[in-house]
Amino acid sequence: MIDFLNSIIVLLNFIIIPGISYGSQLALGALGVTFVYAILRFANFAHGEIMSFGAMITILFTWFFQSQNIGLGILPTAMLALPIGIIATIILCIISDKFVFQYYRYQKSVPVVLAMVSIGVMFVINAIIRIIIGTETIKFSDGQKFIMKAKQFKVMTGLNEGLALKSSQVITILITILLLSFTFWFLQKTKTGKSMRAFSDNEDLALLSGINPDRVVLITWIIVGVLACVAGTLYGLDKSYKPIIYLNLVLPIFASAIVGGIGSPFGAVVGGYVIAFSEIMVTYAYKKFFIYLLPDSLEPTGLVQLLSTDYKFAVSFSILVIVLLIRPSGIFKGRVL
């Protein structure tokens, strides 16, 4: 029985908790991509850089607050800087729309052209980030690092295995729940949310019923800015901030959005968790887990690892390809908010 509990703790500690927090970050990112895709109808390659930009502004203000000795006690100072980061990200989104995307929207360009345009935006934001903050890895989490340390847990329960709970993970999960429930409430219950859904369903019909397209687009960018900044900051808080990482993060995010059914917000969230869990589960070495479960004679000699961690990244794409082959519309049939 003790062995069984130990094995469960191993799973919790190394798969489930990291999976939920990474999945939440992906889900928030994928939700942003989904909004752009459903309302503006293009694949936004710049989304990773928008996330990175939000995280960067948050870091800059975290440093400022730290230098002024303003803090939140046990919470990281970044939480105080986050609202400023969100506002800056929203401004960035609106500027990029005003000066770049709007023109092609009025021209009714095909989606591929808009995707190319977003690559241009990606380069520009990427350069701005690197010019301002460089390419170094930055750790900006402060406050209480752990809510529960592995050692404390062992003492508390008397088990062999420890269960560590980082505060960044708990913050990630709580903020994600808050933000997701707000977004879905907004889409389902408010008049603006309904008009957005109508717009994504049928643009012409929405225009005929008097929905102002510019307002819908503006609100979309505001939502995208909030989601992107929060996702970027949480990712940086959890795993330390590195500007180059965010370009690589775009691919799992796209994978999540497509796997869930691109255009469907609920699908994007589910897709985020599917991708995160499969990445972690396929590359985790289950040796410890089996040692607890199996009798001594059957104990595995190897690591019991399906793929080496080097292929973490390839996993999300293999899943994407498989889903596209078997069910091209994703898990939840997408296309409409």
Partner: protein
């Protein structure tokens, strides 16, 4: 057949004069280094341009195809490592044979077992246990190979042939990968296809990075043989010394002191050998580029090219006229990828080393796409022009930025924090330039600098 318009001649003249300008300002060696990379970039751009410009098939997997070309350069030119073959060759052979058996078994089951549920169960069982068995042999073999002299070897090596063959092999490798990708993904909508090809290219690169028995992974392969002479050999070759003396005879004759003249001659030979090597590369690359350019143009003007344009402009109509759209998409995707693969092998030949971790999407996929868009999709000369201009500005962005920053901050003290920070981040301004160029071109000249000619025939 190939008749250039006036503005096209102008574009060619601009390209040539840029290199002459750099030659006079920064030296001929710098100019030739940039020229070599420009030619390779132009070939990559032509590869993408063939699939995107002719047929509208998007290919964001440039990086993966380049890496396959690079792998070909290693596998063709590196001398074989007998110890590694001894250590793991048999194990690899067995696992490969088992893989073939597994595939045949699955195909057999698919054919004979009719009930769907049984088929799924049987297939998944066979695949699961088959992979377990193959893994056993495979991991043993690769482990043994990687243990053979890991500091300098640790992989199977290659065939030991002249590296120039790899240019063709690289094309074939890339074409093979492209065929598989195309079979899987070409039915998708263009923006899905972009994301999927981007992702698969990442998978290709991560395989090359981590399968050390094949490509030495992140330990890199260095010291690949060159198709052109080495500087050291040139410097002691009589014909080369005579050549340098002859070319600089008037300059040398003006120096009266004998030891001075010897010293000047020695410097000239050292400089000359570097330039000679780069020039030979440039000539080789130029030949390849012109061959590809010739055939690409020829193909574009042929009935096949016309069919491709028809498919691009209206897929449904082309389909209704009896053209096999799916097949043609696959063909043109594979051809485009093959050309990119050739460029990948040439790139590794030029560097003389293979570094899988150096393949990054920003540098090897998106920049190439900027070249295509800026040059003008659907026009081969435009593709070459885009490759030249974008690579040129990519390299020359740094000196230009330094100059501009120095001019703008001329009033500030040399130790001013802002000025120092800006000068520190000079290398990042090139991304800004690239983004702005792309955005400006897409806005004000969406068909590119040298647009596709509208043909009425």
């Amino acid at each position: 057949m190939m008749k250039f318009e006036r503005y096209e001649w102008l574009a060619i003249a601009i390209m040539i004069s840029l290199f002459i300008l750099v030659g006079f300002i920064q030296g001929w060696s710098v100019s030739l280094v940039i020229l070599n990379m420009c030619i390779i970039s132009a070939i990559m751009t032509m590869g993408v341009n063939i699939s995107w410009g002719y047929a509208g098939v998007i290919n964001f997997g440039v990086m993966g195809f380049l890496a396959m070309g690079g792998l070909a350069a290693v596998l063709v030119s590196y001398p074989p490592i007998a110890d590694s073959w001894q250590a793991g060759g048999r194990g690899l052979g067995i696992s490969f044979a088992l893989l073939v058996v597994l595939v045949i078994a699955v195909m057999y089951i698919n054919k004979t077992v009719i009930q769907k549920r049984n088929r799924y169960i049987l297939n998944s069982l066979i695949i699961f246990f088959g992979i377990l068995i193959i893994r056993h042999f495979y991991l043993n073999a690769t482990h043994n190979i990687e243990d053979v002299n890991p500091a300098i070897a640790g992989f199977l090596g290659g065939l030991g042939l002249p590296i120039i063959f790899s240019w063709i092999v690289g094309g074939l490798f890339a074409a093979g990968v492209a065929f598989v990708i195309g079979k899987v993904a070409l039915g998708l909508r263009s923006d899905y296809l972009a994301i999927v090809t981007l992702g698969i290219s990442e998978i290709v690169v991560s395989i090359l990075k981590h399968e050390e028995w094949l490509s030495r992974g992140v330990k890199n392969v260095i010291g690949l043989k060159r198709p052109v002479p080495y500087e050291i050999d040139l410097q002691s070759a009589d014909w080369f010394i005579n050549l340098v003396t002859y070319l600089n005879s008037s300059k040398l004759n003006n120096i009266i002191d004998v030891s001075d003249r010897q010293q000047v001659l020695k410097n000239l030979i050292i400089d000359g050998s570097g330039i000679f090597v780069k020039l030979s590369y440039a000539i080789l690359f130029l030949i390849v580029m012109l061959i590809i350019f010739y055939f690409a143009n020829k193909a574009q003007l042929s009935p096949w090219g016309r069919m491709m344009r028809a498919i691009r402009d209206n897929e449904t109509a082309a389909n209704a006229m009896g053209k096999d759209v799916v097949k043609q998409h696959l063909i043109i995707f594979v051809i485009g990828a093959a050309i990119v693969g050739v460029a990948g092998a040439m790139l590794v030949t030029l560097d003389g080393l293979f570094t899988p971790s150096g393949y990054r999407p920003l540098r090897f996929t998106f920049i190439i796409w900027i070249m295509v868009i800026v040059g003008g999709s659907g026009n081969n000369l435009g593709a070459i022009f885009g490759g030249f201009v974008i690579w040129f500005s990519w390299i020359e962005a740094a000196p230009l930025t330094t100059f501009i920053i120095n001019q703008l901050t001329i009033g500030l003290e040399p130790s001013n924090a802002l000025k120092l920070h800006l000068l520190d981040s000079v290398p990042y301004f090139r991304y800004l330039f690239m983004g702005l160029i792309l955005l400006l071109i897409l806005r004000y000249r969406p068909k590119g600098i040298i647009p596709e000619k509208v043909r009425h025939s």
